[in-house]
Amino acid sequence: MIVGNVVCPFCGCLCDDIVVTVEDNRITAVEKACTSGRSLFLNVHTQTAKPTVDGKEVEWAEAVDVAARILTDAANPLIYGLSSTASEAQRKAIALADLLGATIDSTSSVCHGPTTIGIQVEGEPTCTLGEIKHRADLLVFWGCNPAESHQRHFARYSVLAKGKLTPGGRRDRTMVVVDVRPTLSTRRADVFLQVRPGHDFELLNALRALLKGQDLDVDQVGGVEVARLQDLVERMKSCRFGVIFFGMGVTQTGGKHLNVAELVALVAELNAYTRFTAMPMRGHGNVAGADCTLTWQTGYPFAVNFARGYPQYNPGEFTAVDVLARGETDAALIIASDPVAHFPRRAAQRLAQIPTIVLDPEMSLTAQVARVVLPTAFYGVNAAGTAYRMDNVPLPLKKVVDSSQPTDEQVLDWIIEKVKTCSA
């Protein structure tokens, strides 16, 4: 059986043109996906996995029971992850956090959390990816390397895409990359500005000054000659439709959210000359969805705490790394992410010290230190659901092969029911 128009749930591109061949409930071929997407589809296993408690296989009812008890007994439970699950499950996770008075945070807090803060300061002039495909003649990639992280971005949405006003594709566009080192992406660029690490803010600030017609009495800023910045400003002012895609090189260095605010301010000001937009390169398949669901249910996109019975937002106070590293968290529910593999040591260690529950189709490093492991179906491969693309366009994830595992949404529902009876 051949299934077309499958959405790849791996990265923020959410390519929705994947063709998957299924034989005997196994995926045997994947077309159109990049290497990351292909390996995702080909490596999802379909054999039944049982939940475990303290390493021992148990029935689902028992595992859910233990998980619910751990969460209700905890004083400061944490729910974390969310970026690789469907929005249906994210909504349930937030409902559970509300019920428990827990802290809830997504992987946004370690990638584009500063983007949110920057946007809360300066705004967000943006658009959907189709506008870039059809209109943009100037593409700036700042602190990101899509050639490796979002492999089909260039072809589907940006550099190579042929659109209405850009029928020549690559020929009709100028590509600028700003980064601290040469990468696969900088090799494709017409203009590469190599910024000294940690100097993105200065560069952005200098661009704003030049845009305002101010003279800079230095020869270079952040390792880049002023003449080249002046050239970039001229390109920006005179293009038809421009965009700055930005990544962790902007959000996780130097001034973090200040970089983003400066970038947004520059883009907003450029709209006095032409149309210009900005877009964060969101990494995980549904990390944008985590922002969306958290926002419509709590008012805030990450770092939310319900201890007072209502949502409070404070990055630094309620972000997962911080509550773990300070030792405040006394039980954790990790959904579809692997913080033990990615968090700073102290935060990761805390997860091994406290009762941790993991909902994940994969046996992650976090699952290996967890008390309760709840192996769930893989959204987009063996369960249907919804994911939000990096430009917040929601797409339907398909079920292409069957699995006997329950979905994150189902398991969260069971836990919610159990917690309600526990606390009643």
Binding site: A95, I119, G123, E124, P125, T295, G299, V393
Partner: protein, 543 residues
């Protein structure tokens, strides 16, 4: 089974004006007295209380991409406005842009049971429906933005309006929408070039069509498809001094076809472009009075914080330049655009004060209450939970004069409002907040208490202070279930999502596949919102 007895009933659709009546309810519907076993029915004694159908809001921005973007970038809006979780209800936050659960609860507590989300780009309708499912109690519907849609504009240029009609029918079904929404026709597309439209006959760049053609074609399509609502129009030049002229021209461009003009206050500005704002309410109200094919809602300004959010990209950019506040813009491929900018309306700001006057003047100068409705274009001109204050302003001339006193002197000079003595009656309030809106929306089972209507009922204490009276009804029933009792939310139910699914020539899908290949970044097959997204969906028939 339930009976509401001895209440003072206001049911304008059935001509009932404050008479003492009993209302009987069975299986979620209003029934006649002989259909219930009185002995078994729960009885609500409404002696001395005012009984009306549940409120029906015709235009409010409560869910979807723009609203959520507004929530996300305004934490300062939420911090001091929170709702605590109870054993029955979810927690929430937000003042001008409250979270979904909180929105449902607050509308219900104000006696409203049906609310229309005023604008969604079809590309992101799936998001809107996810949020609607998380908005409890209320029955809801979504207006789908089409005034800058590439496929439609192409059809108009080629003279293929039947094709455009089939597309609109398909699009409404695919996005599970309720009505055609038109926002700044052509202007939002031109904004993608950094431009706008200023006249009804200006050209849309790259399409060679005009705002007039877009509006008249969609009005024709609306009639052809027999949609329950009419095209819902946010006209050109919104917020611009002197726009009253083009607003009237837009009404005339319809050549007698039916349409609804939303938040008319923002479109009734007199004075010369570039000069100071004067009220154009008299001119626009006259045009409304003369065009029986037109209904309107006002978009009354409420002094205090607001969040402007529209699909009108160039307008939002102008507001950003005006206020210097943070700016969110979102152009949507081939369909529309939009933006969000925070706002503060101040009595002492002459521009804001005139805006406030214009809204009330429209209410008082438009003769037929069946054609003018109460909105604040939430949260653009103010939050929905301030409707009770607007009701008081309309019902109480002395209160109006009192608020007028505090306005900027320049705004008061020569203002029409102080001369307008009209006071709305409870009967008229029932029209502009439920009976009229339900009729305009084509919701046959809403906005009245006749046999067969949905048992959405609101019961108020009869107080002199009309703001107090309408802010906290004693009882609210939704589909026959008591959701508010003694002013307290006692029950959370899911609400329904109402949508239309007009028939179309399936041959259109071949054209659409090609159009999607060329114009979108998602495939045709992944575009429609599947019925699973609407577990409480209900098709409203076209006829």
């Amino acid at each position: 089974m339930l009976g509401i007895i001895n209440g003072e009933v206001y049911d304008p659709q059935n001509g009932i004006n404050g008479e003492i009546r009993d209302i009987w309810i069975k299986d979620g519907k209003i029934v006649s007295a002989d259909e219930v076993e009185r002995a078994e029915a729960e009885i609500i004694d409404a002696t001395g209380l005012v009984v009306m159908p549940g409120g029906v809001d015709i235009h409010s921005h409560i869910v979807g991409a723009k609203v959520n973007a507004g929530r996300k970038f305004r934490p300062e809006d939420h911090r001091d406005h929170v709702r605590t979780r109870t054993t029955l209800t979810r927690s929430g936050s937000g003042y001008t842009v409250p979270t979904t659960y909180m929105t449902g609860y607050m509308y219900a507590e104000m006696g409203y049971t049906t609310v229309m989300e005023a604008a969604t780009a079809p590309l992101v309708a799936r998001h809107t429906h996810e949020e609607l499912e998380d908005t409890p109690i209320l029955d809801k519907g979504v207006f789908i933005t089409m005034g800058n849609n590439h496929f439609i504009m192409d059809c108009i240029r080629k003279g293929e309006r039947e094709k455009a009609r089939d597309y609109v029918a398909w699009l409404l079904g695919a996005s599970k929408g309720y009505a055609i929404k038109i926002v700044n026709p052509g202007g939002v597309e031109n904004w993608k070039w950094g431009r706008n439209v200023e006249e009804v006959d200006d050209e849309v760049i790259g399409f060679g069509v005009t705002p007039r053609q877009i509006v008249s074609t969609l009005a024709w399509i609306n009639d052809e498809l027999k949609l329950p609502h009419v095209p819902h129009i946010h006209a050109i030049n919104l917020g611009q001094v002197g726009n009253a002229r083009t607003t009237v021209e837009m009404m005339e461009a319809l050549e007698g076809r039916r349409a609804h003009f939303c938040h008319l206050q923002f479109l009734s500005y007199g004075g010369k472009p570039g000069k100071r704002l004067r009220s154009g309410a008299a001119e626009v109200a006259r045009a409304v009075n003369e065009h029986p094919n037109i209904t309107v809602d006002v978009g009354q300004v409420i002094f205090g914080p607001a969040t402007t959010m529209t699909s009108d990209g160039p307008l939002q950019y102008r507001l950003h330049q005006l206020t210097g506040d943070k700016w969110l813009n979102d152009d949507v491929e081939g369909e529309t655009g939009g933006g969000v900018v925070p706002m503060q309306y101040k009595r002492k700001n002459p521009f804001n004060a005139v805006q406030w006057l214009i809204g009330l003047e429209l209410f008082l100068l438009i003769d037929d209450p069946w054609r003018v409705y109460l909105t604040t274009d939430h949260p653009n001109a103010g939050p929905f939970f301030r409707y009770p204050q607007v009701i008081k302003l309309l019902m109480d001339r002395d209160y109006r004069a009192e608020v007028c006193e505090g306005l900027h002197p320049r705004a008061k000079k020569g203002a029409l409002l102080p001369e307008l003595d009209r006071e709305y009656s409870l009967y008229e309030i029932a029209i502009i907040t439920r009976a009229g809106t339900a009729r305009a929306l084509g919701l046959k089972n809403k906005g009245h208490l006749g046999v067969g209507a949905d048992a959405d009922v609101t019961i108020y204490a009869k107080l002199d202070d009309k703001e107090e009276m309408f802010a906290r009804p004693h009882y609210v029933l939704k589909g026959g279930e008591v959701v508010v009792r003694d002013g307290q939310l006692v029950r959370e139910l899911p609400g329904r999502t109402l949508y239309v699914a007009p028939p179309y020539d399936p041959g259109i899908e071949r054209d659409l596949r090609a159009h999607f290949e060329e114009c979108y970044t998602i495939s045709f097959d992944n575009y429609p919102v599947a019925p699973e997204y609407l577990p409480h969906g209900e098709v409203v028939p076209c006829s």
